[in-house]
Amino acid sequence: MKRDEGMPHAQAQELLPWLVNDTLAADERRLVDAHARSCVVCRRDLVELERLRESFSESADPAGVPAPDMRRINARIDALVERDGRFGQLVAGLRDSLARPWRLAFAAQSLLLVALLTVLLWPQPATDEYTTLTTPQALPAGDYLRVVFDPDLDAAATARLIDGLALAIVEGPSERGVALLRITPPAGGEDADALAARLLGRPGVLFAQPAATAEP
């Protein structure tokens, strides 16, 4: 197998899904194509990915797309437009009041009242629950590790870090490199703490700890 044409194998591997969906830039496409022509692994993966793409096409429309019904959204927009309109009228009224001093005092008082009511009645945005790396999380049965990889690592480097360990990334890594790893039995006799310790010893792993699970 000859893998030195076009671009490095790991880089070509990462781009294969977008070669299949035909969205690579012309120069990237040329390099990945050149590599795939001389790489058995990439050619085999391309066949699999093409099959995956076809399956997506087959299952594209499982229940049929309903006809667009804009009644609900139109009602929401009407309500918004009406609210904005009322605000516009209020502004116009204030402008008129400025011409008559006795009205100005009344308008100022009204405005103050409206501002006060707005502050009191404005719905507070829901805030997302604050979680940390050690916050217990409802997870399917099994043992998990919460790991933070160096965010600058690419996919291949991340994969190399867990090579040889009975671990599979099931979630993430997030933009900050946080990932959830499932311990896949057999773990070679190592428990979650031992695996976390081994991971921490590898450069590129910033944090590793058994994930605390909560009742679903």
Binding site: P17, R53, A60, R76, L80, A155
Partner: protein, 197 residues
Amino acid sequence: MTPPESGDKAVRQTAPGERTLLEAVGRRDRRAFTELYHRYHPRLHGYLRRFLANGALAEEVLDDVMFVVWKDARKFRGDSAVSSWIFGIAYRKAMTAARKESRYEAQLDRGAEAEAVADRPPRHRDLLRAALRELSPDHRQVVELTYFSGFSYREIAAIADCPVNTVKTRMFHARRRLKYLLPVLAGVDKEKTREKG
């Protein structure tokens, strides 16, 4: 079956028209909004329906997405394609809705799907559907946006508001997991069919 209008390609061809439409929506042009809604309805419905178990919820979220488009059209700065901007809103809404969607409903849907699969020989698309449900939401979104909506990895990074390397890494691990899950699910289904026969 003909694949859905491949989101990104179709959008690239009609991009100037959509940008003009969005600008008109920013000026509160209801006719332009109706046109934009009709153009995006099939693509957004397909994308949201695949991600959320409940069809009615998908339509509700679609309306939420387009309502944000109406309200925030003036905020569109033109740094990305119109489709990336709209799908970015859909991505965030879908993630929130998926988190809120009741576990009970999801289990019902999954149960019905498993029964349907067990009643006939498993097809690759049924297995794929089941396997996708096993992926984490962020891995699944990258796969769906690539293969169903036809976006490039750079556009997915804009939609998900994350670095391109993160998109590639998520896809890498999603592929790895699918590679493991598809044969496992196929094996289980074959066993079920054999037992029934």
